[in-house]
Symmetry: D2
Subunit: 359 residues, 4 copies
């Protein structure tokens, strides 16, 4: 049983390979009557698209999105929305030498193990190119969330060993779109940028951390006991290429805290129930409590590096792999809109799910 | 839309409240012909049951499991397996004062927000008591995994600030069941135990980390692009009460590594393709590669502490909450079998899902 | 992948075998705050229970239903509702001779083919005893539908060759519960009753037809293009033991009608849009149009008859099967509440699904 | 929650409107390694396409199918297969007068009720044009079923009052593709053809019945208790536009039969267990028994007729509707490949589902 569908009520099914005809996504369950702002969808894709700055890959895709169905007179009709993005600037010949060879820490070997054969061109389905469709669908989810005044902001808070100090929920997200790294702190953005360029020159790559905050989520969203809101956020984030970890609220630091420090005491603030601290990260028992939701996502360094590496081929023979192709020296700047998109998909799905909680 | 079902092919639906008649779980999709070892299932529940040692809660539940359906002559029949565990030693009167008051960092407030009312006795459905049913179902999954020789071991590698040094995949798991903390290192187990007792005496609580390793998972398990094996593991773990973080393989440390350090180079080891390092944690592109799968799960300190805390009541009035009831000063020792059970559910589900990957 | 779950938002998972410990069902997604009328649920089960009259089987089960979870202070809590019914009056020894033999037109052979072995006692999971759990869950769905003033009535309109004349939607359903056959016409009820008793005496069995009408369903319920309201009704009905056919509105007679006869012309009736005829059976394009929904369900004659029949055993050897055990000479009188229950499950599920159709 | 997805393991999600950019379908879960015969897929679409003979609509669509993803070197890769069919010969202006008016027995009114607005051009999403995508996906399912030697044949056995006599499972299906009506009997085909043309001339329309037979389905396919094989077939068929009824095996005639006539006695035929009769229609207890599966599907007459009809507009005002546009006087000839396609989707899905029935 395949796994290309995400969400239950706001359900997306993605398709397409890196060097195939197109990539695309079908959204089922978007309520009818939502106004579709196509330029906004495109602007979200532009934030993710390759070739946008000197610190990203040089593959140049316009990533022009086309609406195939489900929208009439700029309004959603309640029928499935198909979004299509053509593949254009691919150089499949760059991948000819990989047909029978396995790149380290890529999915080449496991796809062959699983399916018996694979589309080796540009990583085929395992390429992060697929995430463009998530951003497109996520943009429609964001349009829906606007009507709730819910907004989602992510930014890069660590690149390699450079880490912006401070609590995740105290960042100024508006700074992110003013620098190529998408860091909420301009000074750190410069340092990160310099490190990325230096690492690129050395033919190496970097990992990093993206932090995300969701504001104005009303209390009551999330479905115990398995589909807890943070459990679905975790799945959404870990499903993004290159992600190795997820933590919500206090996260891993909670392990070394005491209950008396960690507990978020309730208070009455202007006739609204809030908590004095927010170690819970806005979610308790799997359900939003009205406080900001915030979490961190850890990314590994890009697997493609400009260094020769030992590996094996399909027959199991040990080989030396030459490095070719275009890639990002660090994926996190372009992954910011992906993190936001996945968060938007989770929130929208759970908001719709909550509509039938009570009589 | 509710969220009490987990898994697609090996699908469990859990039900029951902390102080209700019983808790239980229905397993759908367990292949017919699996031999059911009831004492083994019971022994797994015994590892989780309250009152098992001085470092756990004193609520004393036998947690005797009963098979209601789906098994005939000790073999599964392919029909749904219902497992039932009666609630016995509950003291609902301990919770009378909580009917209209919200405990800090518990799910009282959000359940009321979501559902309009709640069963306040012992936390109702939000109680970790529900996880007993996961352990019962997970035990059946483990029986299935035995036929693949897949084994799953978890242990406590951090309690409060005491952390066992060393890589997650180098632990001697057999040590875990020899100490009450379930730590893979006896010396650290003693230190942890002492800390837990001391903290309990002080009326406070502790968090911790559980590490888990899955051995002998064949390559090819996991379903891109959303139902990646580690994405489903993440969801499974984060869905456990009190969990705040999940990381696989290199995890959060990947953020500060370089590609040349992080990449796992393939090699041919005795005619089998393996990797020289295992930063991937046994999963690449969301699919198992045959190497050990290992991950860490971070738990927050128990929310119930023996200290008075400020809070609010249902009407929003600020109140002072007295602490009552029985609880674990640190949940991780009892959470070890829960982590294993959820991992077993994910693995079994994905093994079954992989049966139709190829012609 | 097993198939014991029905519905998407109001989702039921049934479990249990004819001669096992209990049968039961878990309802997920019932909105919180619904008042549970336990005597009503029991009364629905009483309509289905064996031994209720001389024209039904003599197996005598009280079919006492117990609520295990999900209800607190008589209100649903939004958490899973588990309903349990103990098996009591079973005579497994009546089935010993069937362990290795296949009864004609029963599921013995196919269960062995599918699962490798089977619980042969009373038909195990394939027994219509399982439908008691559907009636229990359907009763809760009916309680939910009450708040919409939607009511569902079914009755027996054919037994063997005796057929009540007249259009399906013109029956007086209140008559049904006044006779043992559950026929909406008292005169025909007597004829049917006599035929059933006579057939029983002859050791034979009869089929029949149940008609069902749903009143006050609002327009807009049903989900194109696959989950059309009548498509889900069809699946629900055909999934009932012994059912061979389903038709909605004009049904099979539509095949020989002309468009000009069949089209239901819209009119404005007291400021409400209705149709002059109702060949559509209340559903157009898979969506309710506000007119009464009505359909027919065809049942085959009971497979168990009091006559020796030729058959084969597990090894394929041809044998002569003696007839034993207790059974209904005609299942339709007891199937009336099952048809209603399944209709109630479909309607409730689709009503909840419709909550997110529009912004 | 929308309903544009069908199947669990071989899962299709359809999208697109009659007069939009394209219609399409995404197939998830097709096993990797299946050889894709594109001309065969196209030939199946040609059997359904409009304008193929004088008894069908004159809308002329090439219905050229394009594979967007999931196939590499003519083999499926295990990743989602997206199939796209462009809309070309549409005349949206023919529908301008329907923007605010409701056609009798069409879905105009209910779409407005459900979604608040609708794409009125050519019926939008409610148009039977959507079924082209089912045929395309069904063709791939047929390619999969070929490896099991399972074949599916449907044909028209009734048009208006003209009915081919004889049992459904005794037809010569090879005759169907030799006449425009797709009737398994050439003489009746001529009579039907004449009736269709005559009715067309009179501006009226006809209903009919399609019979279908599935040969060589192995025993053991189908998932009790809800996802019985015939329950899923029923849902699949009733989900097709204009369908009003479904019956399997003996169908509605079973209602008037006795158990002794209806029971299918097992026998040993050349070391294989078969039944002497096949009133079960190849399915018992929801599971295939190895005998041919056969069923009938009843279609209503086309709702569009060339006669003026009274109706109402969006505001509820009574109006007189002029008839315009192109349509089929009888849909059953073109619906034959749709019935086969839906049957193929059900069978493929259930074959895959059966892979995990046993250890």
């Amino acid at each position: 049983m395949a796994g290309n569908t995400f969400g239950k009520l706001f359900k997306v099914t993605s398709f397409g390979e890196s060097h195939g005809h197109s990539i695309g996504i079908v959204i089922e369950g978007c309520p009818a009557g939502l106004e579709i702002d196509l330029p906004f969808i495109q602007s979200e894709l532009d934030r993710r698209r390759p070739g946008q700055s000197e610190i990203t890959t040089s593959r140049n895709e316009a990533d022009k999105v086309e609406i195939i169905s489900g929208v009439f007179n700029s309004l959603t009709t309640g029928t499935p929305i198909c979004l299509l993005i053509k593949n254009k600037d691919y150089k499949s010949e760059d991948y000819d030498h990989l047909k029978d060879n396995y790149r380290p820490s890529h999915a080449d070997f496991v796809y062959d193990s699983k399916y018996g054969h694979r589309d080796h061109r540009g990583g085929g389905r395992s390429s992060a190119r697929e995430t463009a469709t998530r951003v497109a669908a996520g943009a429609i989810a964001k349009l829906y969330l606007r009507s709730y005044n819910i907004n989602i902001h992510a930014g890069v808070t660590q690149v390699g060993t450079i880490k912006v100090p401070g609590k995740e929920n105290k960042f100024d997200w508006s700074v992110c779109e003013t620098n190529a790294v998408r860091c909420p702190d301009s000074n750190y953005a410069e340092k990160m940028s310099a490190l990325i360029l230096e690492t690129k020159k050395a033919g190496n790559s970097l990992g990093g951390i993206i932090s995300c905050e969701i504001k104005n989520c009303p209390p009551g969203i999330g479905e115990p006991v398995f589909d807890k809101l943070h459990a679905d956020l975790a799945k959404a984030m870990i499903s993004i290429n290159a992600v190795k970890g997820f933590e919500i609220g206090s996260g891993f630091s909670a392990a070394s805290m005491k209950g008396s420090e960690h507990n978020d005491l309730f208070q009455n603030e202007n006739d609204s129930i809030t908590t004095k601290t927010n170690n819970s990260g806005g979610i308790q028992g799997g359900i939003s409590n009205g406080m900001p939701i915030y979490f961190n996502v850890a990314f590994k360094p890009t697997a493609t590096i400009m260094k020769d590496q030992s590996s094996v081929d399909k027959a199991g023979k040990e080989i030396m792999l030459e490095s070719k192709g275009r890639h990002d020296p660090c994926v996190v700047p372009r992954a910011v809109p992906i993190v936001e998109a996945m968060a938007a998909l989770v929130l929208t799905d759970h908001l719709l799910r909550s509509k039938t909680n009570k009589i």
